[in-house]
Amino acid sequence: MIVFDLMLAAAILVAGWSALSAPDRTGAIAGFLVFGLLVALSWVRLDAPDVALAEAAIGSGLTGALMLRAAGRMAPPAADRVPRAQRAAAALLACGLAGGLAVAVMDLPGATIVYDPLVRADLGQSGVSNPVTAVLLNFRAWDTLLEMAVLLAALVLVAALGPRGTPRPARLGPLYTPFLRIMAPLSVLVAGHLLWLGATAPGGAFQAGAVLCGGLLALYFGGALRPAAVPAGPLWALCAAGVAVFAAAALAAEVLTGTLLAYPDGADKIWILAIEGGLTVSIGATLLLLFTGLRQGGARA
Amino acid sequence: MIETWLPVAILMTSLGVAPVILMIPDGARTLRTTVNLAAASVKVCLVGWLAWQVARGTDFEARLPVAPGLDLVLQADALSVLFLALSAVLWFLTTIYAVGYLEGGTDRSRFFGFFSLCVAATVGIAMSGNLFTFLIFFEVLTLATWPLVVHRGSAEAHRAGRIYLAYTLGGGLALTLGTIWLYALAGDVTFTPQGTLGNLPAEHPVTLRIIFLLLIAGVGVKAALVPLHGWLPISMVAPAPVSALLHAVAVVKAGAFGIMRIVYDVFGVETTQALGLAMPLAAAAAVTIIWGSLRALTQDDLKKRLAYSTVSQVSYITLGVALISPVAAIGGLAHLIHQGIMKITLFLAAGNFAEGQGVKKVSQMDGMGRLMPGATLAFTVGALGMIGVPPLAGFVSKWYLAAGGLDAQAPLVIALLAGSSLMNAAYFLPILHRAWFRPPPETPAPRLRRIGWMLAVPPAITAGLILAAGLLANAPFSPLGWTRFIVSLEYI
């Protein structure tokens, strides 16, 4: 198995380098997509299925789609006009840092175990059996709440930049509509399944949200879904649903049990699933609107 | 209760009034003048009441904790009352003069706003209870005087402003470093008669000498000790009331007052002498006296000559402080008041010559006695006082300085005083001779502006004060009497 790991690591480095130094934009993005999928494979090798799912769905899938869309609208890549001295300095700095990291990693003392026993002990009361979801939605729920705030801040920034004239997607021909009839409902189904599965096995709100966004994007390209036509207020409400639900749950928990985000005993699972439902919907909507662009709240069309 | 609010009230009569004046639009001349004069008169009365209270022995203190171990303290002891009286009275007179002088000028609200801020800083310096408060008001004085120096806005004014800022902020840095260093060594440095350093001089003699040097350098810039006096003649480009009140009275005296506080109330007289710091200070003062008088001889511009005369006269005070004898101290302290009154008379008169006849040079002073008799008479009284002619104030302080010199076994001081008095005569008498005994020029300069009562009365009053200080020297409330009361505390 070591040989496979070495080959995979080498493939990852080659894909990474090709993504960063390909002359044209689509070549670079193609390299990046391959790089993302290979990295997802490496997470599977390191027994991190949740992360592998997220990396494949969001890390390379959605990010790749965003980049392809942006690359289409950007001017052709400017030649690298970085002076020689700065190039050499950057090379020196990069090698130094990589070398330092390698040294640090090589002589790591035996992994000091701190979190594992704690998680195992508290997993019982967390209401879910998948430890990653327990950490995300219960032990460190504050991180997840702020992470949703990051998503919303990104959307506010994109909206504040003002309209960029989103072109109508090109007509995709007759074959696309039957494909859509199969894929759209299926993606919603898979998203729901992933959401429910998250409590016991690898899955959860983020992966479900990504799949949901995939389905919505397919609909958007099919022309069936045009966010520009919908008034901005409700769209913003949909995106903000995740954070609003989470914050409301946090404050309600504080009222009920006296400490922030401490779900009432016994009802952990229901609270977590309710929050994850809100998260999935708002992640799907936010990622879609990050793709298509959005007007500010009250602005006329 | 009275102990706390009176010092704050005196400070507030100018600090609180400054923003009010800044807000007044330029046009509202009467409103601004009434506010100004009301504040000035209230301050004079309060200072009078304070002096009477201090004479009866009540002590005052208002304390505002700024940081652990660092307090902003306002207190009023005999020494601060002396300086307070000087600045309050002279500010009142100079405000009247300035209102008349700036008639029709621009940016007058800004001028009077910063003018009262300067006096607030001077009052703060006078009443500061510890070295930290002294430092704060000392720096505020720099910031408040700078806009007045550049008030005319011309290129030359800004050049003078830049030089003024360079000197005073450089001095400020030295003072700040010295103060922090002393605080690091001695904890809180409050002004107490005979000094507060306790056994420190025994442990760190060298450090304390360096700190003394830093403090005196910082304060010496404003006291115009020789190497640091460059800014004074150059900033004469400022309008007459500014050079009168600030560069002859407030700023320069603040420097001298600072030297007094450091020598008397921080280091204490014995420690200064023990550390061997008294002699170099006296030498520096002597050099400044000689140097100032020499430069004054060659100046043709009237205000520059008066400026150099100020440089030398202020060092009399420093000399009085540096000569470790009670009599010399009395002479020095009295000279603080006398020099202030005399110098302001000279500057106000010079301002009138410039405004009335457009005369700025000594060579143009011919026949001024006939053209502007009142101003020239005041000028003459001031000049004679400076030279030290007996009945006037200057004579009294020089007499005590000479007696102090004898008492401190430094006969050289007598020679110094005699020589400098001669030089004073050498640069003042020609002006008087031109004004009184020379016929006015045939084509008399067109009368620029009628000298209203606002410009004529203040120099006359200050000339009267010179006479009074000289004749009534022995009265209890005269400057001499009050300095005897102070020195009796310092030298028990």
Binding site: A170, L172, G173, L175, Y176, F179, I182, M183, L186 | -
Partner: protein, 105 residues
């Protein structure tokens, strides 16, 4: 039981060979359309075989269902994307033609 595991391995081997052929085709074929041809055909078949083989090896029907679902999805999306890429390539060629001769497909 041995037969099932042997069959599983055989299916997976066949699938891998097909995938290798698709990669070779991608590398060697001259233009877009032929590459598309290789990719869509071989990939769909290769993935289906590997999925079936893995399903047999895992031995339980429960894992077989999601694997076959994956195979079906790959088949559908592979075919559609192949069609879309071919269509857009055709449009671009016509765009360059149309600028020279004004007719449209």
């Amino acid at each position: 039981m041995m037969v099932l595991t042997l069959l599983g391995h055989l299916l997976i081997a066949g699938g891998v060979v097909l995938l290798l052929l698709a990669a070779l085709g991608l590398w060697r074929f001259p233009d877009l359309h032929t590459r598309l041809h290789a990719l869509t055909k071989a990939d769909t078949a290769g993935v289906a075989l590997v999925a079936l083989g893995a399903g047999l090896l895992s031995g339980s029907a429960a894992t077989l269902v999601p694997l076959t679902l994956c195979a079906v999805l790959v088949a559908i999306s592979g075919a559609t994307t192949g069609h879309l890429i071919a269509r857009s390539a055709l449009d671009e060629e016509h765009a360059s033609w149309r600028s020279t001769r004004h007719d449209s497909v």
